[in-house]
């Protein structure tokens, strides 16, 4: 299951479009993913392009890291936030 999530995450990095995200988010529950943490080490977000440098790490029910995914999606030439596609997961940034 975790391997499948990793493969899907790799595909998502290559194609972070709405279609790519829909395919990925559909597989989240099946992949045993339960938690997430968001990382961004550049400091203050200046614009949506900066979201390229941010990512979410996803974890299974035992809080073991499974894969990393982007938190943006490409909409034509535009970059948009994509955290909505992680709905259903629980935050452990806390």
């Amino acid at each position: 299951m975790a391997e499948n999530a990793k493969t899907l995450a790799e595909a998502l990095w290559k194609n972070p479009t709405t279609k790519g995200w829909e395919a990925f988010s559909g597989s989240l529950a099946k992949g045993g993913i339960k938690y997430y943490k968001i990382f961004y080490e550049k400091g203050k977000l200046a614009n949506k392009e900066d979201l390229r440098y941010s990512y979410a790490e996803l974890y299974d029910s035992k809080e073991k890291a499974v894969c990393k995914v982007p938190i943006f999606r490409k909409d034509g030439a535009k970059i948009k936030g994509a955290t909505i596609y992680l709905s259903g997961l629980l935050n452990i940034n806390k």
Binding site: I71, F72, G81, T83, I84, L89, L90, N91, K94
Partner: protein, 262 residues
Amino acid sequence: MIQQDINELEERSIFIIREAKSKFKNVAALWSMGKDSTTMIALARKAFLGKVPFPVIHIDNGIDFPETYKFRAELAKKWNLDLIVVESEIKPEMSGFACCGANKTVALKKLMEERGFDALIVSIRRDEHGIRAKERYVSPRDRNFKWSYKDQPAELWNDYSSSLDSKGHVRVHPLLDFNEIDIWNYIKKEKVPINPLYFSRNGMRYRSLGCTHCTTAIKSNARNVDDIIKELGTTTTEERAGRDQDKEKEYVMQKLRSLGYM
């Protein structure tokens, strides 16, 4: 933390919400899915016998917490809300955090122009921030969204100003008198559904919610509403300690609000 009579607070808030609906032609409310705006919607439901009679607006920068999006979808369905989601940009601004500062105001301004809203219900509270303490229940904004905090109506004896600058609007603040602990007492009393991010996991919880990039959690073991009320009775930390925008330059919040920020 001072606790007030929540029945009195409820009565006043419902009166203000009903006044807004009857005095203005086109009312809308802002909903961030946080505890305050969700409480305000619960009050509006009570004011209008279970149905919120105006649209609720979420200004979405695309990077809110996944729990927040899930909560939005579930509650909008459960309470049959007329939800308007407006996408906001993230780009450098003169002041405030790029993800939630003046950029959200730009998106809101555009929507207000398109839909012609003349009153906007906003769930700010006086105890949250010094500049919010200067607000009125009904606060006029000019056509450019600007707020003159040095020149405001007096609001004596429940007489709330409803005069509008042409093409301007008013901000209506029904929760102005609530303290943070009153909100939680009301949530407990009315069993208001609440975003799960407020509850502790692994010894940390969010006390004030923004987006994923500008909000940090606080140390807390409060795992339910009762625990939160107990915790607030003894805390010495300010509510918005986890919100980055409040840690910027002095008077940033004052500047943002005068330009129309929520």
